[in-house]
Amino acid sequence: MNAKTLLTAIAVATTLTARGATGQNDGIITIAASKTSKPLVERWIEGYKTLHPHVQIVVMSGGTTDADLTLTLAPTPSNPQETPTKVTYVARYALLPVTPASNPLLADIQQKEWKSKDLKKLFFRAEDLDEEYEEATESKHNRLYDKLTVYSGSSRKSVTRTFAAHFGRRADDLRGNRIAGDDLYLLSAIEEEKTAVTFNTLSNLYDLTSRTLSPNLVLLPLSVKKAQSEALLSGNLDETLQLIESQHIDLIPVEDIGFTYQTTDADIDQFLRWVVSDGQQYNHQQGFLRLPQNS
């Protein structure tokens, strides 16, 4: 951010204030979205505005609490004291485990086919003392897990909770270091520590322009069928999306993304209806999965 950004912001604010003063406030929708999901939202808006140019839709930061719509990547815990929140699911995302390409332990990582049990051992602390005991009595030379540092998100909105829940654990059970901020930064964090491993959405792992895995990342080879493995290790985003959409792979967490809101109006309803139908065409482009056909 710099002075230019500031001037732009002030200009937008001035415009909106002027609109408010003249009573022209209809058709403005505010959407809170994280950095990870913001490109998808912006792509939807772009597509929607080609059909409804009069509607103004503004994307706000993920921390905003009073936007009309909030795009949520992680299931929110039910809190009976909060006002009931409605959800419209609009996309899905998949999580894959990665490590920096420069990881000195890369050969050891790639030599392995990572099963569910291995991923649990790598990413989570032992579930009980018996498991700790088993781990502790294993030869330390075999403990690749101990040489790798796990990075995960601490935010309630992080996909970390999805990842943990998929393996039957809680986010608090993850080993290693945490980050505060958008999940996008997990990839920044593992850049700093070469022996790190993390997980992330396809939208963050793949270059959306070249449609390939970011060159400084390597996927952990998962213990899946050969064809599935080839598709994943091809590094091609579209093949990966196609695979995950068409087949259930137990090792890959998949979760819905939804717009949450308290109330809607006609404009918002119309926008939501468009996103779950026509808007789905943009999901792949931004690295997200489409809603299932029958949803």
Partner: protein, 1017 residues
């Protein structure tokens, strides 16, 4: 808010963020991952050694120049978390998970707390579950077998009686060997001068720990070595027991209310095998004059007769109610408890009752300013046995081994009935002609016990208020408190009781009021500077103790209805006893803990004490200590050893002192009395201007090892203690007007090894099994006695203080057998100038001078055990829980004076059935001599210095927590406990656990079965 305004704010926020990026504030909340409770006091470190701590709600905020920034969040007992903050769009949520690791414990130490990783001293923690599983009414009963090197010996089975607690052996002869007790940071001071009212005649004294309800205890820390105890300087020599009571837990806003009720039945754990009526009458006829004139037929018809042992024992009922409430608000926390215990003793008319109210609360009055109050008020009452008291002349029943009415019951001839045919008490006993019969009236022990009064009633208030203010790394704390106790002793023995026979009834009452004021002012400083961590403390404490007592006794009663409440009826008045005793102790304390790289720890402690108990020139005592420890597991060469969680090595050394002697022992004093109707003064003590501190130099080498993910923990300690300038009662020549004087003479050494292990054998969701064991060996030796070697002690001269031997060594003849028929006695040493004949006892002629006398006495062992050990295990299977605790001791000896008395044959008293195997010409025998009315040798012999080794099943508990519907607002636990279920011991008396080393017929121990329920809302 309108949409435009939302957008406006968003835009403005974004802009502001952008502009102020060089000075932004990030904030967050730290909480427990499991229960969501906020964690106050967690350290948030960032940048180059900077940091903040979370507030009471777990909040923190820090100003940073730019993002990202790496934070390290630590809180003792939780896994540290490294968190890199990339943006501040929302508050940071840090959830810490508990770390199961022995070294992550926070340990309560003198005047503060410390992480176990930083500890240099030897400190053992006993958690609340130990007290919850025990049904003991005082905490010492629950501590037995729990801590390596802490030896608890019950003085007797009397409910509410005190125990002897020794940490790493005894250091002292005449000064106290009891550890120092500190309750919630405040010294609970049991003054050596304040144990009685001057009344006497009451056998048991009330346990000072009876003022603390075990269920109020959250944890106990036992400080064993000098690095830990030196902060208590003058009173640290015998170890320190820090008691922390339960408090409301911060963040738990819902009040926890629990109620517990238990009821139990107790019975004697062992019966002595005495002769029954037939056996006793036959015995009398065979060996003595057959006073009863029984024919053989009549003897056979007597059968079992009266079992006097059973007649004075009973199945006793005990019950307890407990109510506790604790919780917290945003700025305060509180705990309150009320309890009532009513425990009947297994001997008639004995028991213990206690009401106890305890509260513990603190408030955060303003930011950084806290205020707290701890208060315990209660009343305990103990009904014990009257004692015949030790007399200095030979003809007293005490010197003949009849110490109280319970012992007298064991001696009663079984041909004598308790009651007459009309139901009245039987006061006729033709066999009693020695001590307890006057004219036609003989004492009846059942009547004695039922009608005599021997009460200790203690009303106590332990209270303190404190305030602390935190300023940066500094914390200033001031505490003022009062420990006030009013002890009343009541005593009455009517004209038909053993003790009242000669005086037509005797009674008395005594009071002691003890007020101990304490003030403590401390300044502590805590700072982390990168790899350095400093925790420093300095302070001043003052203690003022005033104790007054008064006692009056009268005899010759004409009306016993109101007993001790009508002492004016006694025609004869003893000289009233009154007195006052005052002492002060001023102390300066200082301690610095330094930790480098979380690996290397040092603790330097210094305390200077000024005690009024010593002569003017020697009042100051200086007690320094230094402790070092090394967390070796954090070194590179161990960092990847997967099976090792932690390995710590500790080394400490320093000086501590002992001032637990009576007030004014350095000065000349006189006892008042009356003589010929006028007052008289008798010299009680002669001045010693050189009386000074007893000091103990102590060294400890220890290791803490944790293996397999917290599954197995080992603590090993080696120690050496040398006590110098021993406070010893040295015999004085007649010219001094006193028999002895307290002087600083000699040295005592204790050296030993302690091992404690605990392990989690299984831990699954519905199955948990833990076990712990400890073992300790201590060698005690008097290494110097100055010019006063060989001080003989005890009513039977049974113990000796001798250089090269242990404290509490027994001294007597070595029994070698019985002279048999036809044995050549010409070579036998003579006894009292006579050659022994067949049927006489033989003793070793230790000095080979051909005669048996006092010079043939040898050391027969000591009260010091070679090994003490304990084992406990807990198992939880779904809703069921089981726990078991064993405690044992090996190698110690006990003088069985009761056994000696009960194997002494005669025509008055009953005897043990072992006497049936006494030597006779026909069948021989090699243990007891031919039965006769001869009194035993005036010196004790090895037959009655018996092994006090034992293994006891202290506690066996089974509990059940039924699954209640979730709509039920409470949880429930039902349990059953067996205490003292069995004792394996070669000891021939009731119980090998008798403090002091002499069993004169101590109140027998009980086996108790308790059933209880606890309800928590």
């Amino acid at each position: 808010m309108t949409t435009q305004h939302k957008i406006l704010l968003a835009a403005a926020f974004s802009a502001a963020t952008s502009l102020a990026a060089h000075a932004q504030t990030i904030s967050g909340t730290i909480s427990d991952a499991l229960n969501g409770d906020p964690i106050a006091g967690a350290a948030v470190k960032y940048g180059n050694g900077r940091g903040v701590t979370s507030d009471i709600d777990g909040h923190f905020s820090i100003g940073v120049k730019s993002l990202p920034i790496k934070l390290t969040i630590t809180y003792t007992g939780y896994r540290p978390q490294t968190l890199t903050v990339y943006d501040d769009e929302e508050d940071i949520e840090v959830k810490l998970t508990e770390q199961r690791n022995f070294l992550n414990d926070v340990v309560v130490v003198g005047y503060g707390t410390q992480s176990r990783t930083q500890l240099t001293g030897s400190v053992v923690t006993v958690k609340a579950d130990v007290f919850e599983n025990s049904t003991a009414s005082t905490l010492d009963g629950a501590l037995s077998g729990q801590v390596a090197g802490l030896n608890v010996t019950a003085a007797s089975g009397q409910p509410g009686a005190e125990s002897s607690i020794r940490i790493r052996g005894g250091n002292s002869v005449n000064a106290s060997n009891d550890p120092l007790y500190v309750v919630d940071g405040f010294i609970y001071y049991k003054d050596a001068s304040s144990s009685g009212t001057g009344l006497g005649a009451i056998e048991s004294s009330l346990n000072p720990l009876a003022t603390i309800n075990p269920n109020d205890i959250e944890r106990i820390e036992v400080l064993k070595d000098v690095s830990a105890t030196a902060i208590y300087g003058s009173r640290g020599a015998n170890g320190v027991i820090l008691i922390t009571t339960k408090k409301g837990k911060l963040g738990e806003k819902k009040a926890h209310i629990s109620y517990g009720y238990s009821i139990g039945l107790s019975s004697v754990s062992k019966h002595l095998d005495l002769l029954n009526a037939s056996e006793w009458a036959q015995f009398q006829k065979t060996y003595f004059s057959n006073k009863g004139g029984y024919t053989d037929e009549q003897i056979k018809a007597l059968g079992k007769g009266t079992d006097w042992q059973d007649a004075v024992l009973r199945t006793a009922v005990q019950q307890a109610h407990e109510l506790s409430i604790n919780g917290s608000t945003d700025k305060s926390r509180y705990a309150f408890s009320a309890s009532y215990t009513d425990q009947d003793g297994i001997v008639l008319n004995s028991g213990f009752q206690r009401y106890n109210f305890h509260t513990n609360a603190e408030w955060e009055l303003q930011k950084n300013l806290k205020f707290g109050i701890n208060a315990t008020y209660g009343r305990s009452k103990q009904q014990g046995l009257t004692t015949t008291e030790e007399q200095v002349f030979n003809s007293s029943p005490y010197s003949a081994g009849i110490t109280n009415s319970f012992v007298y019951a064991l001696l009663m001839p079984p041909v004598i009935s308790v009651h007459n045919a009309d139901g009245s008490y039987n006061f006729t006993n033709p066999y009693e002609y020695a001590y307890f019969a006057i004219g036609d009236h003989a004492a009846n022990p059942v009547y004695d016990l039922k009608e005599s009064v021997a009460e200790n009633v203690n009303n106590y208030l332990l209270s303190n208020v404190w305030a602390s203010y935190k300023l940066g790394g500094f914390t200033l704390k001031a505490t003022v408190g009062l420990s006030s106790e009013k002890l009343t002793q009541n005593y009455f023995s009517g004209a038909y009781t053993s003790l009242g026979l000669a005086t037509q009834g005797i009674g008395g009452t005594g009071n002691r009021q003890t007020d101990v004021w304490q003030q403590e002012y401390t300044l502590s400083y805590n700072k982390e500077l990168g790899i350095h961590q400093i925790d420093a403390l300095a302070g001043y404490t003052k203690q003022t103790s005033t104790s007054t007592h008064s006692a009056i006794r009268t005899n010759h009663f004409t009306n016993e209805t109101l007993k001790q409440y009508n002492l004016g009826d006694g025609a004869n008045i003893y000289t009233p006893q009154t007195g006052i005793s005052e002492s002060t102790l001023n102390s300066l304390i200082a301690r610095v803990n330094y930790t480098l790289l979380d690996r290397y720890n040092a603790t330097a402690t210094f305390r200077a004490d000024r005690s009024s108990r010593f002569s003017k020139n020697h009042r100051w005592g200086y007690f320094p200590s230094l402790g070092l420890s090394w967390n070796a597991d954090k070194e590179n060469f161990l960092a990847h050893a997967r099976h090792i969680d932690y390995l710590k090595l500790r080394l400490t050394g320093g000086l501590v002192g002992n001032q637990e002697i009576p007030d004014y022992a350095f000065s000349t004093s006189y006892n008042t009395g009356s003589y010929g109707g006028s007052s008289s003064y008798a010299k009680a003590n002669t001045a010693n201007d050189n009386l000074k501190w007893e000091t103990t130099a102590s060294y400890n080498l220890g290791a803490d090892l944790g293996l397999w993910g917290g599954r197995f923990n080992v603590v090993l300690d080696l120690y050496y203690k040398k006590t110098s300038d021993l406070l010893l009662d040295v015999p004085m020549g007649f010219a001094n007007g006193v028999t002895s004087q307290l002087q600083n003479v000699g040295n005592v050494e204790n050296k030993g090894i302690e091992l404690a292990v605990n392990g989690t054998l299984l831990k699954r969701r519905h199955l948990q099994w833990t076990a712990s064991a400890n073992l300790a060996h201590n060698k005690n030796e008097i290494t110097n006695m100055g010019k006063t070697n060989n001080v003989i002690q005890g009513a039977d001269n049974q113990q000796i203080l001798r250089k090269g031997e242990a404290l509490g060594s027994f001294y007597g003849l070595q029994f070698v057998g019985i002279v048999q028929n036809g044995e050549d006695v010409s070579q036998q040493p003579t006894v009292n100038g006579l050659t022994p004949k067949a049927g006489d006892a033989k003793f070793a002629d230790a000095n080979n001078d051909g005669k048996i006398d006092g010079n043939d006495r040898v050391i027969l062992g000591s009260i010091q055990p070679d090994l003490t050990y304990g084992f406990s295990s807990q198992l939880q299977v779904r809703e069921w829980d089981f726990s078991v605790t064993f405690a044992g001791s090996h190698g110690g000896k006990l003088y069985n004076a009761l056994g000696r008395r009960l194997e002494q044959t005669g025509d008055s008293y009953n005897v043990l059935s072992t006497v049936k195997d006494a030597w006779t010409a026909e069948r021989g025998g090699n243990t007891l001599p031919l039965a006769s009315t001869s009194r035993p040798f005036s010196y004790i012999d090895s037959r009655y210095v018996q092994s006090a080794s034992y293994l006891k099943l202290r506690n066996l508990t089974i509990g059940y927590r039924p699954r209640l519907p979730k709509s039920f607002p409470l949880s429930l636990r039902i349990y059953a406990t067996a205490s003292n279920l069995f004792t394996l011991t070669p000891y021939k008396g009731y119980d090998p656990e008798v403090s002091g080393g002499t069993d004169r017929g101590a109140y027998p121990s009980a086996r108790t079965f308790t059933f209880g329920v606890s309800i928590t809302l």
